[in-house]
Symmetry: C2
Subunit: 144 residues, 2 copies
DNA sequence: GTATATGCAAAGGGTTTGCACGGTT
DNA sequence: AACCGTGCAAACCCTTTGCATATAC
């Protein structure tokens, strides 16, 4: 179930509580990683009449009030997470497409340094890092 | 002018040398940062009949043979670079949209660590890092 | 009752693809 | 001569938008 005060966060933002809103939030929490389409599919298991545009609109609202975030993984649709999930970086393998998550903590020192040099405060979780996973990295190197 | 052996790299990959190919490469080098549309516009100053799909197809080919790369900056179209450009990370401000480049070297230690922990070999230049620039960071923090 | 949310359908940006013709090798 | 590359148009995926209706407040 959405965390206790989910409806408070919406109300505080001036938004209404609707079944669709709750279902979208629920779906994001259930799926842990979900694209808008996947979220739609999940929501439609309960409420088949819900429209894709409603998913998009509600993801935007839920993000604005701080209940969900999205990250860009690869070139396709973004994936949404509940905000209370563990903060993680996504690593996407260019070759096999495999996606792994690592604790965002590994980047702490790097981000501190980047900030010191440029003043830029980075949200490292927002985009997946691209590269080659353990399995594909050797093959990629051999190729050159 | 495209670097000396550009045509060799194409031939070695089994590709033919065409005016369009050369113009696309030329445009990428001239523009330094260019989306497919921007590259099209640049190419059309010389050859007005060139089609967008040719740009896409040739960017793919040029990338395959190692003459250009692309990076994803923000949510829109990717931008292409010549490979002999300085290797840099893009930082995109979520608020004002400003893009700055920093030498990829800052990330070296982080990437080493990431690799040690996960085996993942990251191409940090492939996606822009999102966050807040010096000007916008204070405002963003104040807002909470 | 009034403003906000929703569903639907249409439009939009960015990219890819099928096909016939033209150019490179 | 054989094959690859091109232009064109259509199709594609993902997302946004306009509008009339329905719903939360």
């Amino acid at each position: 179930m959405p965390s206790a005060s989910w409806d408070q966060k919406l109300r505080r933002g001036g938004y209404r509580i609707t079944p669709q809103r709750q279902l979208v939030l629920q779906a994001v929490e259930d799926l842990r990683h979900g694209t808008p389409e996947e979220i739609l599919a999940h929501v439609q298991r309960t409420a088949s009449g819900v429209n894709l545009s409603t998913i998009y609109r509600n993801l935007e609202v839920l993000e604005e009030v701080g209940l969900v975030t999205h990250a860009h993984i690869g070139h396709g649709a973004p994936t949404y997470h509940a905000v209370d999930d563990h903060v993680h970086i996504h690593l996407v393998c260019d070759k096999c497409g495999d996606v792994q998550s690592v604790d965002a903590q590994v980047a702490q020192e790097f981000l501190r340094e980047l900030r010191a040099q440029t003043g830029f405060v980075t949200d490292i979780t927002h985009v997946a890092l691209q590269g080659h996973c353990v399995k594909c990295a050797p093959a990629a190197r051999a190729k050159r």
